[in-house]
């Protein structure tokens, strides 16, 4: 044992064990050459909850595909990597999935900035990518790419779906609590554009750093501006903290609170008295008379500790299913052929799980998904997780700006 003692050996064993732990989770597959799908999402950090739900949805899609023979007769493997909510890490993981694991298709990320950075990598490598959960407009706007599609909404679609409702219900003077990064900025300007058209005014905007835990200073300012409504654009844990403090301070009894995007993950993290306001959901689990929905809800409940799917589960699920649909149509997993096949592709009922026509718009690669506009409620009447009362479901094509207004020009490879 020259130079290698017991300690060294133990350390090496421990290190080897850790390396095993950091390997991606691989859904076991049968067959000689499975089709590999790479997924990069922030499994740790502030967006861990939505990211894990996206992965769960993608895993369900893979299981369903494999049960029916896979994609083009080949089994599917899902390789999941953690971007840790960090752009550098996300890019590194995406490169690793492409260069070392030879994935045929990429999904990710919840964080807009990481999604954009990964899109640079996939574009450079000529690989098809579906952005599952990053909302900032340039992804299917000024920064759009031939190989990048997006499942979730743009911020303009979100704003267009709900602004008129908020204006009619609350009045013309709005005050924003906005997260200080790409998503928040684009969302606020989209809402301001709507508000201007409607004839309203902005009393002020509090730009809050991502990950703010105490919103009291901003709320003191917002209340003193005396608006008709406080519009919350923060997301995730920031949304939870902000809404909770608004209710603790009793601000909602004097000034109503509302916003655009709301998520079931956030409503469930709130105490009942703080589940208030008008919002839009990007997808909702409880819809009447939607084919195949009950089966999807039941399947997710099985793997989610009995809890219902959120929009994030559907994003992950739809991202994988879109790849399979495109592959079937193109009869290939070549990225260029897949990208052409996805253009204007309409999702079938077993994938879209909602009313209205849902399709990838060819001009900017944005999915035209419905917006579920309604109101948060303290308790579900039938199911404890039915925390959102949907008042209307708007078709994506009715709220998306025309392609010409998105700033997107697609450059296809020769």
């Amino acid at each position: 044992m020259n130079g290698i003692g017991r300690r060294t050996l133990l350390q090496a064993t421990a290190a080897a064990g850790l390396v095993r732990l950091t390997s991606p989770f691989i859904i076991s597959a049968r067959g000689d050459s499975p089709v590999r799908i790479g997924m990069v999402d922030p499994l740790t950090g502030a967006y861990a909850a939505p990211a894990r739900n996206e992965v769960m949805g993608a895993q369900l899609a893979v299981a369903r595909l494999n049960a029916k023979g896979g994609v083009l007769g080949r089994q599917v493997e899902l390789l999941v990597e953690d971007s840790a909510n960090d752009v550098g890490t996300g890019v590194q993981k995406a490169r690793k999935l492409i260069e070392r694991d030879n994935v045929s298709f990429m999904i990710g990320d919840v964080n807009s900035a990481i999604a954009q950075a990964i899109a640079q990598v996939t574009n450079e490598k000529g690989l098809l990518q579906i952005v599952s959960g990053g909302h900032t407009d340039p992804i299917t706007g000024t920064d759009c790419k031939w190989n990048v599609y997006r499942v979730c909404n743009t911020t303009r679609m979100e704003a267009n779906s709900v602004c008129d409702v908020l204006f009619k219900k609350y009045g013309p003077k709005w005050h924003f609590i906005t997260p200080d990064y790409a998503f928040g900025h684009t969302l606020q300007s989209a809402i301001e554009a709507n508000l201007k058209t409607l004839g309203g005014t902005v009393t002020g905007a509090e730009l809050t750093p991502l990950g703010t835990s105490d919103f009291s200073a901003y709320l003191i300012k917002a209340r003193s501006a005396n608006p008709n409504v406080i519009i919350l654009l923060v997301q995730g844990q920031d949304m939870v903290n902000c809404l909770k403090q608004i209710v603790q301070f009793g601000i909602n009894k004097q000034i109503p609170v509302a916003g655009t995007q709301q998520e079931l993950e956030s409503l469930e993290a709130l105490p009942p008295e703080a589940r208030i306001g008008n919002w839009m959901f990007e997808w909702y689990w409880n819809q009447p008379d939607v084919p195949h929905l009950a089966e999807f809800v039941a399947d997710i409940r099985k793997v989610n500790g009995g809890k219902v799917p959120t929009a994030r589960h559907w994003f992950g699920f739809t991202s994988v299913m879109s790849f399979a649909l495109a592959a079937a149509q193109a009869n290939s997993i070549d990225s260029l052929k897949l990208a052409h096949a996805l253009s204007d592709l309409e999702l079938p009922p077993e994938v879209k799980l909602q009313p209205n026509k849902v399709f990838y718009r060819g001009g900017d690669h944005q999915l035209m998904l419905s917006a579920f506009v309604g109101e948060a409620r303290a308790h579900g009447p039938q199911d404890p997780e039915d925390l959102f009362k949907v008042d209307r479901v708007v078709a994506g094509s009715d709220i998306a700006p025309p392609v010409a207004d998105t700033g997107c020009t697609l450059h296809w490879p020769a």
Partner: protein
């Protein structure tokens, strides 16, 4: 504008009081053992989550007491098994160890309680504002300040008058001499570490009631606590107290004028203090080197 400013100064003091509680725990451990405890935020989150689990059985008040004790007990186990081995070595070792522990805590919390945030219920009478005018002062926030005041007073009395407290203070100044005098330094460090972690657990329960629970909650609150120590002066507990209140007020006042800079102002304050007075406002010369 004056009213807005006054509101935010008061609000900043309330936030600062909370930073103080967490920073004092960090400071205790750093001063005596030289351990830069990056896992402090993890202990905080654990305190909050344990309270969430305990509340249905023992109520909020029972959880407020039991949860920090359980967190401190786990802290003592980790101190015995891992941290103790690194005393006397370069602080980098304990920094790396606790940095790793912080990750384990965060993922462990996620594994046990889930990645999704959880709401914590506090007694209804605490969850309302004192008055319509002073809407940002809720009874819960007042209660938090009171708990912080009691904890700080108890800590200072303990360090000032109890035998163990006096030894801890003596050890902070010259551990070698204290050891030579026959004091069991190992046990002293363990008690000190346990007390520090108790404060982290208590901060966690209080933060849970105010903000709800999230596996990442500790890391968000950790940096202001470090800044409070550096601004106040490493080695000085009164300095930590002043540092915590100061950065709370600075963040609150900045939010009136430049909301997006309210986080950054803490770092600016730290930089200014380090440039003008490297040992911190109340720190002792030489401890920062």
């Amino acid at each position: 504008m004056t009213e807005l400013l006054l509101f935010n100064v008061t609000n900043g003091l309330i936030i600062g009081a909370f930073y103080v509680l967490m920073a004092l725990g960090l400071s205790l451990i750093l001063n005596l053992s030289g351990v830069i405890n990056f896992a402090h935020g993890g202990f905080l989150a654990l305190g909050g989550y344990l309270a969430y689990t305990l509340t249905p059985h023992v109520g909020f008040w029972g959880a407020l007491l039991l949860s920090p004790l359980l967190t401190a007990a786990l802290g003592l186990v980790l101190e015995r098994l891992l941290i103790r081995r690194l005393y006397g070595r370069d602080p980098l070792y304990s920094l790396l160890l606790t940095f790793g522990l912080a990750f384990i805590f965060e993922d462990g919390t996620r594994f046990v309680w889930g990645a999704q945030g959880l709401p914590v219920s506090v007694p209804a009478f605490l969850n309302q504002p004192v008055s319509n005018e002073l809407f940002f002062i809720t009874y819960y926030r007042l209660f938090m300040v009171a708990v912080v005041a009691v904890a700080v007073a108890a800590l200072f009395l303990f360090l000032r008058y109890s035998r163990v407290g006096i030894r801890i203070r003596a050890g902070t100044l010259d551990l070698e001499t204290v050891s030579t005098l026959g004091v069991n330094v190992g046990r002293l460090r363990a008690i000190n570490f346990g007390a520090g972690i108790f404060l982290a657990g208590l901060s966690g329960v209080l933060a849970g009631g105010q903000l709800g629970l999230d596996p990442t909650m500790g890391s968000g609150l950790l940096m202001p606590s470090f800044i409070a120590i550096i601004v106040g002066g490493v080695g000085s507990l009164p300095g930590t107290l002043v540092g915590g209140l100061l950065i709370g007020v600075a963040a609150g006042v900045t939010a009136v004028f430049v909301p997006s800079a309210s986080d950054a102002v803490m770092y600016v304050l730290m930089a200014v203090v380090l440039l003008a007075r490297p040992r911190g406002l109340m720190g002792e010369e030489g401890l920062m080197t």
